[in-house]
């Protein structure tokens, strides 16, 4: 059984309310933090090995130490709760069930970074969750954890919630900052990085919800204790939101020592695939990361068991591996069509492109149209090569990584499932009626350890 650090108490009756949260040890990390020097907290976060949980996996302690500190200029902490990557719904779960954990993390992190005003930017559709957070903030304020001179420490801090209005691109940190300034969500050219020039041109740290929540156990137990959980550079716990064709969709906290096979087939987690169907493919880290066929998903090209951690998921690079990403775990059973699924993702990226760079704006539209034609049995063999060519021309040629995020799913689908694309082209009358054969199926039998 994986160790839990974030969701351990998420299902205690009444944990959403301040009195219960406090009774269960809530806000102790803030008490502890206020007695430390800010640099000491940054050091603990470095020692913990915590990596950003928003998708890129950048070491959080290092990011914090890059924050510029010019005299007389305010600094800002912004929590990224935009959560819009298809397959990802973990931050929502954390905020919905244990909102005070995020507020506690925001206060401790704001102290460590020297921020007196901090913002939580939450996707606009999570309207009721914004209300939950506002309530938690009010409770924290009423109990002296926010506002002026917190617990007599001399440190003052306010946390504010801002709702977005429907735009995946606002999850990209510089687009988020533009949006928070009341503008269109057009990503900025970097450098300058937000650590130097961020919100209202002031030094800013942007961190994911789960990252900020993880600061609480890091302060409570110490960075070294946090680092002792997990394996290698995958320290601590990770929230995985599992969906698609599985028996038990939901959010699971894992300690990154379990295998992908156990995660999919064990009753502790996804509980296997419904109706006795077989596993076809999986996108383990949100829609942007490469899809893998069952055989490569469960076993790396080296023949090792693939594990649910950053290194093992990435093993083999893009040729035979994938990425941890945001932890949005999408499972496809034997009856799913790879071309159709990839088409819906291409449509998503076309819809969400901000339109600033031509390779992204035009390329995503082309990919969507070509995939639709192939899916509908109207594709040509040369279309598959054209798709490959377009995705290569987008990757690396844009202002922000949305271009790459749109290119990778298409590339991986062609790389691993080219025969399925070709089957569509060769069987125009069949492909809207039935599914492609069994070429990529693996049929592992999972035996739970007793």
């Amino acid at each position: 059984m994986s160790k839990k650090l974030l969701l351990e108490k998420a299902h205690i009756e009444g944990i959403k309310s301040y009195p219960v949260y406090r009774r269960e040890g809530g806000y102790v990390s803030v008490e502890k933090a206020l007695k430390m020097k800010p640099e000491e907290i940054v050091e603990e976060v470095k020692v913990s090995g915590l990596r950003g949980r928003g998708g890129a996996g950048f070491p959080t302690g290092m990011k914090w130490s890059f924050l510029a500190k010019p005299e007389g200029v305010p600094r800002y902490l912004v929590c990224n709760a935009d959560e819009s990557e298809p397959g990802t719904f973990k931050d929502r779960y954390l905020m919905e069930f244990i909102p005070h954990l995020l507020i506690e993390g925001m206060i401790a992190s704001s102290y460590a970074l020297g921020c007196n005003s901090s913002y939580i930017y939450i996707r606009g559709e999570y309207h009721w969750i914004a209300d939950i957070l506002e309530e938690a903030i009010q409770e924290a304020k009423d109990n002296g954890w926010l506002g002026d001179n917190i617990q007599g420490s001399g440190f003052s801090c306010n946390v504010y919630v801002q709702r977005g209005a429907g735009a995946y691109i606002c999850g990209e940190e510089t687009a988020l900052l533009e949006s928070l300034e009341g503008k269109r969500g057009n990503p900025r050219i970097k450098p300058p990085f937000p650590a130097v020039k961020g919100l209202w041109d002031c030094p800013t740290v942007v961190n994911n919800v789960e990252t900020i929540a993880a600061v609480v156990p890091i302060i409570n137990q110490g960075g070294a204790a946090y680092a002792s959980i997990g394996v290698g550079k995958s320290t601590g716990t990770k929230l995985i939101s599992a969906c698609g064709n599985i028996n038990k969709p939901g959010v699971y906290e894992i300690d990154m020592t379990i295998s992908v096979e156990e995660f999919i087939f064990s009753d502790t987690y996804c509980g296997g695939i419904p109706n006795g169907k077989r596993l076809k493919a999986c996108i383990p880290g949100g829609s942007s990361v490469p899809i893998l066929p069952a055989n490569l998903l469960l076993t790396t090209a080296k023949g090792e068991k693939r594990m649910m951690n950053y290194e093992s998921l990435a093993d083999g690079g893009f040729a035979t591996g994938t990425m941890m990403g945001s932890g949005g775990f999408i499972v496809l059973d034997e009856d799913q069509c790879i071309v159709k699924h990839t088409y819906t993702l291409a449509r998503f990226y076309r819809h969400e492109s901000c339109g600033q760079c031509s390779p992204c704006r035009e390329g995503t539209g082309w990919m969507e149209k070509i995939l639709w034609n192939i899916e509908q049995g109207k594709g040509k063999m040369s279309d598959i090569d054209l798709l490959w060519d377009i995705q290569r021309k987008i990757e690396g040629n844009t202002i922000c990584p949305l271009g790459d995020a749109a290119a990778w799913p298409v590339a991986a689908a062609i790389r691993h499932f080219r025969d399925e694309f070709e089957w569509h082209v060769n069987n125009p009358d069949l492909c809207t009626l039935q599914n492609y054969g069994l070429a990529h199926y693996a049929d592992p039998v999972y035996v739970p350890a007793t």
């Binding site: 305010p74 959560e83 819009s84 990557e85 298809p86 397959g87 990802t88 719904f89 931050d91 929502r92 005003s117 913002y119 996707r123 606009g124 559709e125 999570y126 309207h127 009721w128 504010y160 801002q162 709702r163 977005g164 209005a165 429907g166 735009a167 995946y168 949006s179 928070l180 300034e181 009341g182 503008k183 269109r184 969500g185 209202w200 939101s241 599992a242 969906c243 698609g244 064709n245 969709p249 939901g250 959010v251 829609s287 949005g328 999408i330 496809l332 799913q336 159709k340 699924h341 819906t344 993702l345 449509r347 998503f348 819809h351 969400e352 901000c354």
Partner: protein, 174 residues
């Protein structure tokens, strides 16, 4: 119709502006547009956007360019109840196509259209962060998850009932 926020909303606007440093009231634009859409029939007409521009001391173009960027702002009239059904990959794997098809047949409208009685609008949307509870839609402030045709029937009934009983004739579910 005079375009003016209610007293309660005016108070909220001030509260929102107070979240930012002095002179940065432009940051209030997204939240204030949400408030405006709520009060003025679920969409942002040009005079409404001009009113918001005036309130926040912005040029009207600064409001238009934002309102047209974000998918939650409606720039055309919508029905009292907007069904925003997710159609992205993970929802598709769990049958969102069938749900969209069912709603179209039931309400006799296509995507983006409103029923003749002005009650329902169907919008297809991209991933709303509910992939594990698919298929799903957003209705007002909340999500409706694990949709089935029977559940869609119930929701339609619920909306009709609410619209019939709402004293102010405004049936937006919140």
């Amino acid at each position: 119709m005079t375009i003016e926020f209610t007293k309660e909303r005016m108070y909220k606007v001030q509260e929102i502006i107070n979240k930012y440093p002095a002179g940065k009231q432009k940051s209030a634009l997204l939240p204030v547009l949400h408030l405006a859409q709520e009060q003025f029939n679920g969409w942002l007409d040009v005079p409404v956007m001009d009113y918001v521009a005036g309130l926040l001391k912005l040029d009207p173009i600064e409001v238009y360019e934002v309102a047209s960027f974000y998918s939650m702002y409606n720039l055309k009239p919508v029905g009292k109840y907007v069904f925003e059904v997710c159609q992205t990959g993970p929802c598709m794997l769990n049958g969102s196509d069938d749900i969209i098809h069912y709603i179209k047949n039931k309400l006799k409208i296509s995507e983006g259209e409103t029923t003749a009685d002005g009650m329902f609008t169907l919008k297809t949307v991209e991933c709303l962060g509910a992939c594990g509870y698919a298929p799903m839609m957003q209705l007002g402030k909340h999500y409706r998850e694990h949709l089935t045709p029977a559940k869609v029937d119930e929701i339609v009934e619920e909306c009709r009932k609410q619209a019939a009983t709402a004293a102010n004739g405004n049936g937006y579910l919140s």
